[in-house]
């Protein structure tokens, strides 16, 4: 039963990872953070005055690592204070987490919102020479979606870190907890979630949504750079319209990436532990457990490489060579 419980918690972690990375990508789309930001930044220089939100606090990985680590540190401080009080009253330790994780995530999101504010005003002020105004309605209107999407991502990452650092206690299997402290796990997953959001979801925004008036099915030529699409289905486009579009494909695909990574990383480790004779007391043979996990991981990587090759072959046959000038 405890081993089944371990698998169940693993699925909860994978589900939270999916939600976290999807919201991370959508938040970066609303704020025009990361790589497509180069186009938002370039547009006024090309004479394209726009109403997109413009922030590039830093690379997404570092930005999210900071938000999540702040959340993790606050949550850990609260847990350290609250848990002894609950123990003294004979109550479950889980009540402390129910309060600590959302409060930690809220503080992380507020700090992120402050950085988004200074970033937008600073960047747009620097565009004065290209006659790009600072639209106050764009500024105020985007801060809440940025903070709420960021909150969703950060609360899920903090919850993942909490579950992983207490997995032994939660599942009843000795030694199942990760040895890293809560804020360090938040740092690790914050970095990873940002790196994945930046690597995958941004393509849907940068290639498709930001250049929707350019031909579909071709890479964006260098001559198009800066010539972003500024009009929406009705009226002038803002960054909020970008999130609605990317939520249909880029966001969920990004969430799927992180969800699959977390799922298969944990799955191969748990299967390896079972091979190594996992019981409630712990592992009988650690070397077999580690080797089993490594073997399964190599097989998954080989399958992925073959799948990618099949996908490339299918695309070449289906789409054919480039047609046009």
């Amino acid at each position: 039963m405890p081993v089944i419980s371990l698998f169940a918690w693993m699925l909860v972690i994978a589900f939270l990872a999916f939600i976290a990375c999807m919201f991370e990508d959508l938040e970066s789309d609303i704020g025009s953070q990361s790589n497509p930001n180069s186009q938002i930044q370039l547009a006024p220089e090309m004479g394209y005055i726009h109403r997109y939100f413009n922030k590039a606090i830093s690379g997404e990985g570092l930005s999210y690592a900071l938000s999540c680590t702040i959340a993790g540190a606050i949550a850990m401080l609260m847990l350290l204070k609250l848990e002894p009080m609950l123990v003294a009253k004979g109550m479950s330790l889980g009540y402390a987490a129910v309060l600590a994780i959302p409060v930690g995530a809220a503080v992380g999101s507020l700090v992120h919102m402050v950085r988004a504010s200074t970033c937008y005003v600073g960047r747009e002020a620097a565009h004065k020479r290209f006659e790009q105004p600072i639209y106050l309605d764009v500024f105020y209107g985007h801060l809440l979606p940025i903070a709420t999407h960021n909150f969703m991502a950060v609360i899920c990452i903090t919850a993942i870190a909490y579950i992983q650092s207490n997995l032994g206690l939660l599942s009843g299997v000795a030694g199942a907890s990760n040895p890293f402290p809560l804020p360090l796990l938040c740092l690790i997953w914050g970095l990873t979630v940002g790196a994945i959001g930046s690597s995958t979801g941004d393509i849907h925004y940068g290639t498709e949504r930001a250049f929707q008036d350019k031909p579909f099915g071709e890479g964006r030529r260098v001559v198009y750079h800066g010539q972003i699409c500024r009009y929406g289905d009705c009226g002038i486009r803002t960054s909020k319209d970008v999130a609605a579009f990317c939520a249909k494909y880029g966001g969920p695909a990004t969430g799927l990436t992180f969800g699959l990574i977390v799922l298969f990383e944990n799955w191969r480790t748990v299967i390896g532990m079972l091979l190594g004779g996992l019981s409630v007391e712990g592992l009988a043979n650690p070397a077999v457990a580690a080797a089993g996990g490594i073997g399964i991981g190599i097989v998954i990587a080989a399958v992925l490489t073959i799948l990618n090759r099949m996908l490339e072959k299918w695309t070449r046959d289906k789409y054919g060579p480039f047609v046009g000038e």
Binding site: G61, F180, G194, E218, G219, R220, A289, L311, E312, R316
Partner: protein
């Protein structure tokens, strides 16, 4: 004692050099790749490689905790390598899904006319006035190898720092020091690449790898010496956290 110090120093140097090699193997297109104007993953080298390496580090830390004392260095390092490899594999695969179905482009290399692995022509699939787009097979394989190399390097540094037979730092301190050494090497490698790179088949790789690895050696020796001083003085034994 001297042998232990030397062993820790050598492992940090090997880990640092492998981290640098990993960054050079990444198919990184940077900002242009987000607009399908360059081949590779749409982010910076350091960001992608650090994300992959910390995923490996997470698994390595779990695997290292399987042993009550003296974790197996090679098995923990390999666990980290496979973790980073999987992170790269899933990321590149889903990136290709978005390129193909979200933007309608065919993955192709902009730096070579023929894919060295599949032997398929690339030029006619490339959009004019771009530097390629998507993650073709050769870049995918290069990314997988890069993930393996970087994950191995990061986890190797971690396990020698955390093991009670070697540096005996606390788990958290070992994790932070390993990440620090890894990121220092990754940033130096990113400066050496200077923008975008498609993988081991890119002419840039052959031209710049020697400089990159030499710099990684110097940086890793410096980092290793600091760790050795910390070990000798006992500053971080048992950890600061």
């Amino acid at each position: 004692m001297i042998e232990t110090l030397l062993l820790v120093l050598v492992c940090i140097i090997i880990g640092g050099i492998l981290s640098s090699l990993a960054v050079h193997l990444m198919p990184v297109g940077g900002a242009p790749a987000a607009m399908a104007t360059a081949t590779g993953i749409a982010t910076g080298c350091v960001m992608l490689m650090t994300g992959a390496a910390v995923t490996g580090l997470f698994t390595a830390s779990t695997v290292a905790s399987f042993w009550a004392t003296n974790p197996s260095v090679i098995l923990v390092a390999l666990s980290g390598a496979v973790g980073a490899m999987l992170m790269m594999g899933f990321t590149m695969f889903v990136a290709n899904l978005i390129y193909i179905f979200g933007a309608g482009v065919v993955p192709c290399s902009g730096r070579v006319a023929v894919d060295p692995i599949t032997r398929e022509s690339q030029t006619e699939y490339k959009t004019p006035r771009t530097d390629g787009h998507g993650v073709p097979t050769v870049s995918y394989v290069s990314g997988i190898l890069g993930g393996f190399s970087g994950g191995f390097g990061g986890a190797l540094i971690y396990v020698v720092l955390v093991s009670d037979s070697y540096a005996h730092f606390s788990v958290a301190t070992a994790g932070i020091v390993a990440m620090g050494i890894f990121i220092a090497n990754a940033i130096i490698a990113a400066y050496n690449i200077g923008g975008t790179i498609e993988g081991f088949h890119d002419p840039k790789f052959k031209a710049r790898i020697q400089t990159g690895l030499t710099c990684a050696l110097i940086v890793s020796v410096l980092c290793g010496v600091i760790v050795v001083i910390a070990m000798l003085t006992g500053t971080l034994v048992g950890g600061v956290m």
